[in-house]
């Protein structure tokens, strides 16, 4: 089922589990954002690994316009105990383990009837594992994917490739339409653009 990153399929297949190595997670996050914005999407980034303020700086350094990115930040308030100044456009959640608030924030951000094409980027499932048992994460991701399908919104769930046990990976795979391995060499792709065995 794993395929090389091909955002062109967002139209047909809406939900992706994107696997990345730990050291390339940030670069791959930026790569996904760039591609999505290039395709005209407004991107809702849910971050549990790095504060949104830092992500914004990295995005800006890569020439990504912040007008197309909305943040739900579940780590800043928990880690530094306060909301940084000038972050009014970001929704802050108390803790990555507070799934109720995270769910509410996602619902609020996805609902506005702006008419814009919106895509959700979840960074990352692996960090959530620090704060929650895998069973809770699985249920939450199931809730989010169901919501995205109902709203007809595409979603990308980032995870560290070797950091998810086979059971959780199988569960997550059933919730999404496809699994993308960002670090797989293109040479491994078949003639149809998909990796063998897909």
């Amino acid at each position: 089922m794993e395929t090389q990153f091909d955002i062109g399929r967002l139209g047909q297949e809406k939900l992706f589990l994107v696997l990345s190595s730990a050291e390339r997670l940030r670069q791959n996050n930026i790569r996904v954002i760039k591609t999505l914005i290039g395709r005209g999407y407004r991107v809702v980034v849910i971050t549990t690994n790095q504060p949104s303020a830092i992500l914004k700086k990295h995005y800006a350094a890569e020439g990504i316009g912040m007008g197309k990115v909305t943040f739900i930040d579940a780590i800043t308030k928990y880690a530094i105990g306060r909301i940084p100044e000038g972050e009014n456009d970001t929704k802050f959640v108390n803790s990555p383990s507070n799934l109720t608030d995270l769910g509410i924030a996602i619902t609020e951000v996805l609902n506005p009837a702006s008419g814009e094409k919106t895509c959700l980027l979840f960074d990352s499932i692996s960090t959530m594992l620090i704060y929650l048992p895998s069973i809770h994460i699985s249920k939450f991701i199931h809730f989010v994917t169901s919501k995205l399908r109902l709203l007809d919104v595409p979603g990308i769930f980032l995870a560290v490739e070797k950091g998810i046990d086979p059971l959780l990976l199988t569960q997550l795979t059933t919730y999404v339409d496809d699994v993308i391995d960002m670090d797989k060499p293109p040479g491994l792709l078949g003639p149809d653009g998909k990796s063998p065995g897909t």
Binding site: A22, L25, I80, T127, I130, G163, D165
Partner: protein, 209 residues
Amino acid sequence: MEQEQRKFTGEGGHRIWILAVLGLVCIGLEVVVHLTLRTAVGYTHIFYILLVLSALWYHHKALFIAGGLVCATLATSLFVGDLTWATILRAAMFLVITWIVATISDERDRARRMLQEQKEEIEKKHYALVGYISEAALRMKNPLEMLRDNLTSMRVQLDQGPDIEELKMMLSVQITHLEQIIGNFRELNREIVEERDEIPEAFREFLTR
């Protein structure tokens, strides 16, 4: 219904048939030897095969079979006219032997069931512990790798002219991640300590501190 069907087709079915055949043999002996040949010597020893087997397999329910044989023995003795203390004693022994074997079998089966339940309980706890350990490993190994990469990225940033505020924020996040990982590790230790009784008290306290 299914259980009834099993009684006659599976292992229970064989037992029923064996006991039925033995019962017929016993009744046959009673009729042929006692009633026809008019002697009560020797043949009742065969009865014990039926009584012991039924007591082994059906425990105290075998007393009904013993009662039946007692009735048959006493009835034929009355008919033949050789009812003595020896006949009554023999009939009583049918009941006593059946009761003893039934009681021992019952105790044996109960002990076996208890052992099985204990084994299942231990296995269940063991699997739960293994599941917990793998979950804990999942919640420690991968986060530690992410932490390492975040710290590496911060070190690179230091070489490139650091933004102190950004570094402070990133450090706070890494400390928060670490605190949670330590919490997860402590929780894992507690689970293991609770599971293993043989860990000395001093080590228990150290592991859960």
